[in-house]
Amino acid sequence: MKSLRTYAILYLIFLYAPIALLPIFAFNDATIIAFPLTGFTTQWFTELPQIPALIDSVKNSLYIAVITAILSTLLGICAARAAAKYSFRFKRPIMGFIMVPLVLPEIIVAVSLLVILLQLGLSLGAWTVIMGHVLICTPFCIAILNSAFQNLDPAMEEAAIDLGETPWSTFRLVTLPLVSPAIISALLISFTISLDEFIIAFFLTGTEPTLPVYLWSQLRFPARIPVVMALGTILVAGSILLLILAEMMRRRGLRRAGLQDKGGFL
């Protein structure tokens, strides 16, 4: 039992080791990423805003991530609601099919979308990336929203109807407030996935790269690495912040529904 705990801590170190290195080298004043450290600098961070291509890619990525988050959460609400409330023909195979992008290698998603888009003669750009991102984010949204909709006591909605509300006002006054923490959580998670996603963006982006695609192009130049480290530090800090927010939302939702905490995101 004690050795198991030691193992668990070692494993956490293994998990966090790469990320822990980010800030270390982001503030190190050598261009070579190696020990021993040479000195402290904030130079790499101050350089960041002076790279126009970087700023453009960040803007592009944010635009894609916001739209992806909204669309995939909307699709997720439809699916989770249908799964929780109605029984319909082929329910299980349909739900399984919608979750397929979760287990499909992303390169397959990327090339198959690329082929069809090129065949249709559509030009690549932000919207083609969004198409792909919505596809892979929706299953995550469904997974998050499913438990929220499933945890919703059907008597809650019936009670509202019984007290004179219409189905629509019931959805607005009872259902939506009760699942809103999960909706916010789904928005944040899909936003994060879209922001980080590389391979689909790599295939489907046009002349305007997303942030990961831009980063990929910079990794080839050793001189650019410290700046990438600085950027990575900011990205990781941002992701962790968003995640903590999403987790707080999820827990608040559970508390509101008066339920026991049964674990994490998936």
């Binding site: 439809c78 409330k85 349909i94 198959s112 979308l113 082929v115 596809l135 905490d261």
Partner: protein, 292 residues
């Protein structure tokens, strides 16, 4: 399970109406493109134009050319190794959290484990390159401390590096399903086993492990399937001997302008994955029965 016909119909309609949006999206954005890939794999491409006469030449080439064959087998081998390592490393963690962490702290542990997964994949993979490299963090660190004189070379630009990096990247995917399966185990079953004379160790093998198998099977599938198609890791840390099928698919599509060949390789990769996954599920059928 029945409902009166009229109700069944309205339920059916409402449910189908609601599900049609996400379902339609997946059909349009996944099923149709996959069908297109399948179609194109029977075509040939001459520079920018497709020759749409159906042919099996691509498949013949993919099966006979040692380069493609080697890439496919290597991908399966690496993915299998990654899966093995990831699941073996993950099981004790899931077990520890489920059995030895106080209930109130469980979600904190799960949260700690999922955090690294949500941070930029690209940067995480690149950081492994930084760690494992010739002048990397590991080598420079070990040299500074004086444990080694010469940098270790067997850890970067080969399959080992790919395995380490992917085992790191897919850790939460393996831990979570195993954890869920372990959580479902009624603790009194373990006490019953010990009450019936089994030791703690034999209880683990005769009760805990069989009951956790659905989670292990899920973990294996969730790690194995996407790993086979990984592009970034082999490209960044794999070196020439660590490249995998996804890299070749990318090359065919974006460099060689040979979409049909790329499509063929994609189809073959998907078929292999599905086949191996189905085989694996079939082998573990007895564990999965009645686990719903």
């Amino acid at each position: 399970m029945g409902a009166p016909l009229a109700i069944l119909n309205t339920e059916n309609k409402k449910g189908l109406a609601l599900i049609s949006a996400p379902l339609g999206y997946v059909i349009a954005m996944l099923a149709v493109p996959l069908a297109a890939i399948l179609l194109i794999s029977f075509w040939t491409q001459d520079f920018q134009t497709f020759d749409t006469t159906p042919t099996l030449n691509n498949y013949r080439e993919a099966v006979t050319d040692p380069l493609y064959r080697e890439l496919l087998f290597r991908s399966i081998r690496i993915a299998g190794l990654v899966t093995l390592v990831t699941v073996l490393l993950a099981f004790p963690i899931a077990y520890f959290i489920s059995f030895h962490v106080a209930p109130s702290r469980k979600s904190l542990w799960l949260f700690l484990i999922t955090i690294p997964f949500w941070t930029s994949y690209l940067i995480r993979v690149f950081l492994w390159k930084v760690i494992l490299g010739f002048n990397g963090v590991l080598n420079s660190g070990l040299q500074t401390v004086g444990i080694i004189d010469e940098p270790l070379t067997f850890i970067l630009y080969n399959a080992n590096a790919v395995v380490i990096t992917l085992a790191h990247a897919f850790a939460p995917f393996a831990i979570l399903p195993i954890f869920v399966a372990l959580e479902k185990i009624d603790r009194s079953l373990l006490e019953a086993s010990q009450d019936l004379g089994e030791s703690k160790l034999s209880t683990f093998f005769r009760v805990t492990l069989p009951l956790a198998m659905p989670g292990v099977v899920a973990a294996v599938l969730i790690v194995f399937i996407p790993t086979i198609g990984d592009y970034v890791t082999p490209r960044l840390v794999g070196g020439p001997d660590g490249l995998m099928i996804a890299n070749m698919i990318q090359v065919q599509f974006l460099r060689l302008n040979n979409a049909p060949m790329g499509a063929t390789l994609a189809v073959i990769a998907m078929l292999s994955v599905s086949l191996i996954a189905l085989l694996f599920v079939a082998l573990n059928r007895r564990y999965l029965r009645g686990s719903r």
